[in-house]
Symmetry: C2
Subunit: 143 residues, 2 copies
Amino acid sequence: MSQTPLPNEQLADALMTTSFITMAMINRIGAEHDLSLSMIRVLGILWDRRLRMTELAGYLGLEKQTMSGLIARAEKRGLVARAPNAEDGRATDVFLTDAGTELVKRLQAQGQEALTPLIGKLGESDQQHLQELLERMLKDWKG
Amino acid sequence: MSQTPLPNEQLADALMTTSFITMAMINRIGAEHDLSLSMIRVLGILWDRRLRMTELAGYLGLEKQTMSGLIARAEKRGLVARAPNAEDGRATDVFLTDAGTELVKRLQAQGQEALTPLIGKLGESDQQHLQELLERMLKDWKG
DNA sequence: TATTGTTATACTCTATAACTATA
DNA sequence: TATAGTTATAGAGTATAACAATA
């Protein structure tokens, strides 16, 4: 006599609270560099990828026109560059410049630093366990 | 011979990735209701509190003028209300209306539902453990 | 004088609509 | 005809600056 498992509401709430706190930290760090959360996401996604405008918009769930504006501003600041796509004459590739790559490294380091006090509320063994659980949850997630 | 514990960089990265995924879900849910992440935070904070404009701005790390605009739009939509503060003639209290309270309940339920597939990647025992670790990490956090 | 809040202004972010160029 | 991208426009979100009212 099995029943459909109820969603773990308390876990969902804890994830949402954790995420709001983490996002507030990332938002604050971004503000120091005049970067919005969307711009940080764009740069982060481009870390190990060269994408077309439409693909990039798809990753972020934004309209292509919105991406045009974001990329135009990022390009103006020298963080990304655009180049015509080799296969499709209509498409434009976007990728990080060296300055953009350095900035992403910096942001990641600052994010790690900012999270240290929160993480430090757990002992080393619990930290290890939390890391494993999160990584298992994220594995192969198509988000 | 002890050494200063290094910050757990992999855990920090997992928290940031989890948060970006969770925020994307919440952002999508908010969009269905024409609510930005900031507006959702405002409504969420007012869930169990009646706050003055400046206090509210402090919670979100925003300037008071920004909060004036957010609250003006929320008030126009009937989600919050303003009233003069009893003790300080300069201050204005903000609180949820009944419609605002209903909306927050709805948003929380939708958030729980949206997170179910992600949470479901872990077994019940792991879910329970993850919840405990997150709650222990969040306990008494002044964020 | 200092604090609380609003208004004025400017820029970023976002979507809808219209357009150009290529497939 | 459909798709990729940009430009035009409008509204929300944000900060800096200036202001009115109260402490």
